[in-house]
């Protein structure tokens, strides 16, 4: 595992921190340094609340080795409440119970552990919302 990179990106993974364009207000996640809308390079950190709905999804059966423990698992495209679409793994749900449009919320989970001796990478995933 690239420990410096993991360490550098922790706010993105732990806090769902993206960018907000200081010229036009456009939000981005993962963070973009140049605004997609107005091309401005002026932006500030912006923390997303972590709630959204499922736009679409796919179920992964043939997983990369490091995700073996989770297979099969679902990767979703999630429309955040703030209007940004992101990609994330879903958790705490059986693949057959996943539905487009379902309400989701962010949780912090293990993304993978680097073998038996390396660091454990934590980050956001999304699960069906707990409180109706």
């Amino acid at each position: 595992m690239d420990i410096p990179r993991y360490w550098r990106l922790k706010n993105q993974r732990y806090l769902l921190e993206g960018r907000k364009c200081q010229a036009c207000g456009e939000l981005s996640f993962p963070p973009r340094l140049v605004c997609k809308k107005c091309k401005s390079r002026l932006s500030e950190p912006h923390r997303f609340i972590g709630r959204g709905t499922l736009y679409t999804f796919t179920t992964i059966y043939q997983t990369p080795d490091r995700f073996d423990a989770y297979s099969p698992y679902v990767v979703g495209l999630i429309d955040l409440e703030e209007g940004v679409r992101i990609t994330a793994q879903l958790t705490d749900v059986r693949p057959e119970e996943v539905e487009i449009g379902m309400a989701l919320e962010m949780v912090i989970r293990q993304i993978y552990a680097d073998g038996d001796r390396g660091p454990i990478l934590y980050g956001y995933k999304f699960r069906p919302i707990l409180q109706k």
Partner: protein, 354 residues
């Protein structure tokens, strides 16, 4: 000597939060595999909670602590200590508290450390947090009791070793939803249960775990607390005891003069099993969810090794607005996804290929 522990500054719980994973393993799954169902009428709990394959003490602590901070309505950077009590920290060396504090934006002006005292590591963290706030070293301290406990496949402990826990944010009494009236701790060297370094599963002394360990330490801590505070069992609206199964806490209640009604809300082992360092503290969250101002609650943990911490707490009117600011313990208890033994064995890495 002053026997009851009480800090100089009056201290209380300003926020609390529970966490229990979604997955449940029915005890009959274990019984059928290992005992051909021979013990099906004598199971210690009907089912237990199991962490998902991406969960551990750190991720579970994060969610419980997030709930506690939400109930307190506190800016996270005001918290000056994060102590995580567990026997299942994901790293042997690297504090779980560092990750919890980073994710919750509590860093960097904070103490962070892990505690271990079998099933009483969570209340040990609470005692330290009370002392820290009560001495004015800081205004707020976070104490967490959380575990993803493991029993050896086929061992009696496999029926009950479960996952879950709670977080308590301690702060000044004026802001508290429950005030700590006093506490008492009782510890001896009693090797009823232990796990040596590098071992995956613990060892336990079978019958030895009952009378000289659980019952002796709990009756001592509770008796001394009640005598020291001049209180009787009838002065409490609820009592929460460590719950390694369903039978022990019920028998303890009877021995100490508490009714079935008093222990009902705090007894979660029939639904989630024994969550070790999380057991008594998550029981208390369910009691607080349903508490009224003025209620007095007893909580007494037990940790093998062995020891017990007992606390008397008094609920204030701040409970009313706090409860609904985070998911209720019932929300977690009612979220049940049942799994088979095979899934459990795979997720908990009970099948090893080398």
């Amino acid at each position: 000597m002053q026997r009851i522990m009480k800090p100089l500054r009056e201290t209380g719980i300003v926020g609390y939060g529970a966490y229990v994973p979604a997955f449940r393993l029915p005890a009959r799954e274990i019984s059928e595999l290992w005992r051909a169902g021979q013990d099906i009428d004598y199971l210690p709990v009907p089912q237990k909670s199991v962490p998902g394959p991406d969960e551990d003490t750190v991720t579970m602590s994060i969610e419980a602590a997030r709930n506690a901070i939400a109930r307190a309505g506190l800016a996270p950077e005001k918290i000056r200590a994060v102590w995580v009590g567990s026997e299942s920290h994901p790293y042997a060396v690297k504090p779980s508290g560092t990750i919890v504090a980073q994710v919750l934006n509590i860093v960097p002006e904070v103490l962070a450390a892990d505690m271990e005292f079998a099933c009483k590591a969570g209340t040990e963290a609470m005692q330290a947090a009370i002392a820290f706030v009560g001495s004015k070293m800081g205004d707020y301290a976070l104490a967490i009791g959380m575990d993803t406990a493991q029993g050896r496949p086929g061992d009696a402990l496999e029926y009950t070793a479960a996952a879950g826990g709670a977080a308590y944010l301690m702060g000044p009494a004026e802001e508290a939803l429950a005030i700590i009236e006093g506490s008492y701790s009782y510890v001896t060297d009693t090797p009823d249960f232990f796990r040596r370094a590098y071992q995956k599963y613990p060892e336990h002394g079978n019958r030895f775990t009952g009378d000289p360990a659980y019952f002796d330490h709990l009756t001592k801590s509770i008796t001394n607390l009640l005598e020291g505070l001049n209180l009787k069992p009838k002065d409490f609206s609820a009592a929460v005891f460590h719950q390694p199964n369903t039978k022990f806490p019920k028998r303890l209640a009877k021995m100490m003069g508490f009714s079935a009604e008093q222990i009902k809300q705090g007894l979660l082992s029939p639904r989630i099993g024994n969550t070790y360092a999380g057991a008594s503290v998550v029981g208390l969250t369910n009691v607080l969810d349903k508490a009224q101002p003025g209620d007095r609650i007893l909580i007494a943990s037990f940790g093998s090794g062995a020891g017990s911490d007992a606390f008397s707490i008094r609920v204030t009117d701040k409970i009313r607005s706090a409860v609904n600011k985070a998911p209720l313990t019932e929300d977690y208890l009612n979220r049940e996804i049942f799994i088979k033994y095979g899934t459990y064995a795979r997720w908990r890495k009970k099948i090893t290929l080398k």
